[in-house]
Amino acid sequence: MATQTSQSLGGLGQSVKRKEDVRFIQGKGNYIEDIYLPGMIYGAFVRSPFAHALIKGIDSSAALEVEGVLAVVTAKELAEHNLAWMPTFAGDTQAVLAGDRVLFQGQEVAFVVATSQYTAADGVERVEVDYEELAPVVDPHKSLEMPVIRTDKEDQKDNLIFKWDAGDREATDRIFNEAEVVVSQHTEYQRVHPAPLETCGCVANHDPVTGHTVIYMTSQAPHAHRTVFALVAGHVGLEEHKTRVVAPDIGGGFGNKVPIYPGYVLATVASVLIGKPVKWIETRTENLQSTGFARDYHTTTELAASKDGRIRAMRVRTLADHGAFNAQANPSKWPAGLYSICTGSYDMEAAHVEVNAVYTNKAPGGVAYRCSFRVTEAAYVIERAVDLLARELDMDPVELRRKNFIPKEKFPYRSPTGWVYDSGDYHAAMDKALKIAGYDELRKEQAEKRARGELMGIGISSFTEIAGAGPRKQFDILGLSMNDGAEIRVHPTGTVTARLGVKSQGQGHETTFAQIIAEELGIPSEKIIVEEGDTDTAPYGLGTYGSRSTPVAGGATVLAARRIREKARRIAAHLLEVSVEDVEWKDYQFQVKGVPDKAKTMAEVAFAAYTNVPDGEEMGLETTFYYDPPNFTFPFGTYICVVDIDPGTGEFKIRRFIAVDDAGTIINPMVAEGQVHGGLAEGLAIATMQEIRFDEQGNLLNSSFADYLLPTAVETPDWELGKTVTPSPHHPIGAKGIGESANVGSPQAIVNAVVDALSHLGVTHIDMPITPWKIWQVIQEKGV
């Protein structure tokens, strides 16, 4: 047998073509809406047209007269079963259906069940709800002065959800008091919605005979969702051992499919009550108006520095709008998530960050939209502030960054807010990005253009991410440790089935996790099948978000494979008739030390594991490993954006976008590049288009893709990528995770570029989303 190589195995570092593509390109994916069960009926919501109102009555009689409408469920029925409220991942409670009052426009008020989605829609139209409008709290800045929204919570005396801080307040204030230079900027990180192309949905199938329930749902975290179901509805039969949550193919998640939504609960309750499978699929409008939004962080950022450009301290004051229920999906002990990573890539003496979160009459949420729990917000404020400081000091933003980067010798580096960065080489990533961009020439071109009255900007972002939640000592969601499991079964004929507690939504786990196992076991990746998303078969895990799959489940997979290899080595020794100590794993097979042609492949060992097991050894070759990561991983990179602005109209074009990422060891370069491309496009979308907007009455102003704008191929530039590789010292294969860096790192590169183009006019900041009219307006204000 020819010697195996990583390439022949489809192992680590290989651009293996994706297994999942074969079904997707032929229209054979199996998404939630593709699930049809015999006898299936449909549910649809009656939603509140008001942001804040009392419900005086609900009249379902006309709806029930529509042929095909089977039932109209309201909060009253839910309350009879003690199901009117559910916990959020943030530890708040959320109304499954509004009872006596609605707290945001689009809130679920009643659930119409009918024989088809067409009749369900007709039924929804005929449910009459008598509302008495109340004044809504829309502006988060005024929320604390307004009457209490959450009257359901007895101890709630105002609209404050939490006050949280990190870092050293006194040390930070001291430095600010004595600092030579201080810059300050208020930024509004607008409310956005992840808007995956597939909306949320559920098909619940309760079998009244066996009492078993299968819930197919768009879930980034099937196990966590099943546990919550059991906690909330165990008393009506949804106990964990009788409930199976299945997340089928998911058409993008980006954090949108982490929370539990009333639709999942209602479809399940309706199935339990009626005894038939119930399907609920969100419309796009429902998706935008009621499910997990992200960001909505309003921040004043200050930097204290010396005159020669040493950043000394950072002070951050943030007001967070969480909507009507605190339904963010952060680790429970971390109400502002990992926001205290906001000192970013810079070595400074002290920092203090404070977040006040408030209720408003808007949809609940605060999800981690393609980011690890508020790290996008953190990266935005530091990278904007550093640019501002560069301007203040009249320094090149590159020079200022280089001067303040945490030097690579200082890793592992303890940040002033307490994080221990695992590894980094920020200068190298910066150098590479500058080289690809041709930075000096770009600055020259800019100067020439400026002299001619043309507007061109160059924006830099040197971000540090934090990924892979997380070490279980401190990181849990509703008490569930943020660890993840991997199960590997090597079959007698040497093929493998692996199951994971995470859940791909397009990231390509079926391919990349097979590559990890291929590398560890010497079995070709095409002989390895990876299954996720079924709680009946997959080991427990908290799911896929926050770039945690590779750092956490990836670690579990490697260590499960290595545990299998240990047993396999004992069996190999038995087959080779030598002692275990004389057998080594080399060239992807077991060899007798010093005698390379005396060897056994993993396939041969696997067969023996079921046919020729040595005495004292259990039969079989399989294991499950739960991985508790010792620390987070800290991916980083430098992004450079070049933008041209039309001074007459304010229209702008992103001419170039250079992204140099370092996510440690890369499993599949093709897939990794794809992840970066996608993250960049979403960053571009946030910087220039995406914004969930409300009027003063709390009406959502952009409830469809006609007004909630997502970029097309035309607005999206030809991404130019580069990479450096600084492995994580604590991850079993040195991987850090790459799914979200680009979304974390890119928005501020674009804002910095636009501001840079206008900086000579005295422009210091423009809030996202940046639009032609905003640019035109600042140009007018500066009297040009």
Binding site: K17, R18, E20, D21, V22, R23, F24, I25, Q26, G27, K28, G29, N30, Y31, E33, D34, Y36, Y118, A195, P196, L197, E198, T199, D249, I250, G251, G252, F254, I281, T283, R284, T285, Q505, G506, Q507, G508, M670, V671, E673, G674, V676, H677, G678, G679, L680, A681, E682, S704, F705, A706, L710, T712, A713, V714, T716, D718, W719
Partner: protein
């Protein structure tokens, strides 16, 4: 309620169905014919996930009533493969990583198919305009553009 008999050819096969006049073409394709590669993504004619070919032209099937397809010919993603093999566009999407979650992919493929018919040798910029009626949230489009470009070459070479 007004119902109508609709006869149409889908992927070369004739189907007859009794439909309500308001039934959307996407629902006919998905719920009645169970060709679930055609997806709903937005409801407002923006995303293109429901794109099919109607008498050879790419259209958004969520913005047609099923009755309008009476007597017409429709191609969905399930009908793209030729002679038992993948269409060059399908193969190129996999080869160049032109998809991630796969939800936009069927619509994207059919838009590209119509586009390449009219523009067999396009520039990357033309391709970007050609797929501007299809949203993708995963790929940042670059790999899709490269896949379509590669497929164009392949199709020219194969005379398809």
């Amino acid at each position: 309620m007004s119902t109508h008999t609709v006869t149409l050819t889908v992927n070369g096969q004739e189907h007859t169905a009794q439909v309500e006049s308001r039934l959307l073409l996407t629902h006919l394709i998905r719920d009645v014919l169970r060709l679930t590669g055609t997806h709903f993504g937005c409801d407002t004619t923006n995303c293109g996930a429901c794109t099919v070919l109607l008498d050879g032209a790419a259209v958004k099937s969520c913005t047609l009533f099923a009755v309008q397809a009476n007597g017409k010919s429709i191609t969905t993603v399930e009908g793209m493969a030729q002679n038992g093999g993948l269409h060059p566009l399908q193969a190129a999407f996999r080869e160049h990583h032109g998809l991630q979650c796969g939800f936009c992919t069927p619509g994207m493929l059919l838009s590209a198919l119509d586009f390449l018919k009219k523009n067999p040798d396009p520039t990357e910029e033309e391709i970007r305009w050609g797929i501007s009626g299809n949203l993708c949230r995963c790929t940042g489009y670059l790999s899709i553009v490269k896949a379509i470009k590669a497929a164009a070459k392949e199709m020219a070479a194969g005379g398809k």
